[in-house]
């Protein structure tokens, strides 16, 4: 698991976010992730069907069946219903800082693939091994 500060997904507010990513083993269901991860982070909303969100989840199914997971947490607030960036019914909340226990809990909830990220320079080679190219989001800020 690693954490990057920035806006690698080009979120249109253009503000910095916390991006926590890891690799889950084959068979992990993307659709199940919001509920699974929110269970580890009480009070967080990682999908917007309840009208607010602290961030969002992105995944990428890799050729070997593993699932790259990235949780992007907002470090800003935007509850303006007139915001021109396309979330009129969803308030964005700044996410609280996560504890080491919460970070680990998320990883444990999905499981950890044999190729995982640790925030070191070796991550570049690991991401390439998973099939990512230099222009892909996981490489940004790595």
């Amino acid at each position: 698991m690693r954490t990057r500060i920035g806006n690698p997904y080009n979120e249109p507010h253009g503000l910095s976010c916390r991006n926590i990513d890891w690799v889950a083993p084959p068979g992990t269901s993307p659709d199940a992730l919001p509920a699974l991860l929110e269970a580890q982070l009480p009070g967080f909303h990682l999908e917007a069907s309840r009208g607010d969100a602290h961030g969002f989840i992105s995944t990428s199914l890799r050729p070997d069946g593993s699932l790259y997971v990235c949780v992007t947490l907002y470090d800003f607030e935007c509850s303006d219903p007139q915001c021109q960036l396309g979330h009129p019914d969803v308030a964005f909340h700044q996410a609280p800082q996560l504890t080491a226990g919460q970070l680990d809990a998320m990883q444990q909830a999905t499981g950890i693939h044999s190729i995982n990220l640790d925030g070191t320079g070796a991550d570049i080679a690991r991401l390439r091994a998973l099939g990512f190219a230099d222009a892909d989001v996981p490489m940004r800020g790595a």
């Binding site: 997904y9 919001p34 989840i57």
Partner: protein
């Protein structure tokens, strides 16, 4: 015979001449003369009245044209015994002098150049009932070897056609010699590109071109310009090239059409729960269109997509030339079943050359899943 009868009269004309002596005098009415004879016994006389029989004579104060002055006339116009001015010969057979007679005068009336007065003909309208129609007066200036500002080659003032060539791709930012309504045809007779620059500050304002876009004349291309004195600009009224502007509706039949097309695809299955448009983990796909000029673009985006929550929409849209993506340009599904959808085709007007269009994604709620994302861009 009585005494009286024995008397004889003596008649003489004008108090001179011969005396005629007879007993009887006969007064005879001549032409246009009437005689009236009346007896006046009281005075022992015979009255003879002589009168003119016709109308009165011609007036002496009429405007007669006469060769020489006449004392009996008061308002005559004396024109001389022979014709004068542009006429010669006699009144019986007048002639016209060389300047105003025959083909020479005809030619001068229709050729206001060398032999004429150099005055432009300004007819209300011109109708040519038969051909051919030719505009001569072409000039072939020296080859252009640098970009030209306020271009003014020798002979431009009298030229109708400019035959230009260049040693490499060159720009012309303006042209001298503008006068209201003047029409000038430019031919690129070389093989290198000559570009007429739109509103380029390299030339003085009155010499610039007002064009929809730069007119790029490849070899053997041509353009017809007209000077608009109201706006003090040369305007293009026709060319053999695509100016890059938005064309009017046109019908193309049996012609080859060259379009700049680019497409890209990402097949990887990826998801997002973002409610604002973001990249997916493998960003894009994206296309960059570089037709060489600003043009309208048609952008097609398509993707297999679904959402984890029934009735929550998943959107796949496009950030046109780096702008924020919009639902208006998105293909969308609100189903939990994997759908292959193709968006409405987005028409982006006058997009800058080299612009990149990138697909972006969002959901209204739930988790949106996308795969086989494809974008196709066409520069028109």
């Amino acid at each position: 015979m009585g005494v009286l009868a024995a008397l004889k009269s003596i008649v003489r004309k004008n108090s001179a001449g011969s005396d005629f002596i007879h007993r009887r005098l006969n007064l005879i009415e001549g032409t246009n003369v009437t005689l009236t004879v009346a007896d006046d016994p009281t005075n022992d006389e015979i009255d003879v009245t002589i009168a003119a029989a016709g109308a009165a004579g011609a007036p002496s104060d009429a405007d007669y044209l006469v060769g020489t002055a006449n004392a009996g006339l008061s308002a005559e116009i004396v024109v001389g015994t022979t014709p004068g001015g542009e006429l010669g010969g006699s009144w019986a057979a007048p002639t016209v002098d060389a300047t105003h007679s025959g083909s020479a005068h005809h030619a001068q009336s229709h050729d206001h150049s060398v032999a004429g007065d150099n005055t432009a003909l300004v007819p209300e309208s011109v109708e040519i009932s038969g051909g051919p129609l030719a505009t001569r007066g072409d000039i072939s200036p020296a080859q252009i070897t640098a970009n030209q500002n306020d271009y003014n080659p020798t002979g431009l003032a009298d030229a109708v056609v400019l035959r230009l060539s260049s040693d490499a791709a060159r720009d012309v930012t303006g042209l001298a010699g503008g006068a209201d309504g003047r029409i000038l045809t430019i031919h690129n007779v070389g093989s290198q590109t000559i570009t007429l620059k739109d509103e380029n500050a390299g030339s003085s304002a009155a010499n610039r071109f007002a064009l929809a876009a730069d007119v790029i004349l490849a070899g053997d291309d041509g353009a017809v310009l007209q000077y608009d004195s109201t706006s003090s600009r040369w305007r293009c009224i026709g060319s053999s090239v695509n100016t890059g502007g938005t064309p009017a509706d046109q019908s193309i039949t049996s012609r080859m059409v060259s379009l700049t097309v680019s497409q890209a695809e990402v097949t990887t299955q990826e998801t997002t729960t973002s409610t604002t448009y973001t990249d997916l983990t493998t960003s894009g796909p994206a296309v960059t269109l570089s037709p060489g000029v600003s043009q309208d673009h048609l952008i097609f985006v398509m993707s297999r997509c679904q959402n984890s929550v029934a009735a929550q929409a998943s959107y796949a849209s496009v950030a046109i030339a780096g702008a924020t993506a919009s639902d208006n340009d998105a293909c969308t599904t609100g189903a939990t079943i994997d759908h292959y959808r193709m968006t409405r085709i987005t028409h982006a007007a006058a997009v800058a050359d080299g612009s990149t269009h990138t697909m972006r994604y969002r959901v209204a709620g739930g988790t949106g899943t996308y795969s086989f994302r494809r974008i196709i861009g066409v520069a028109l």
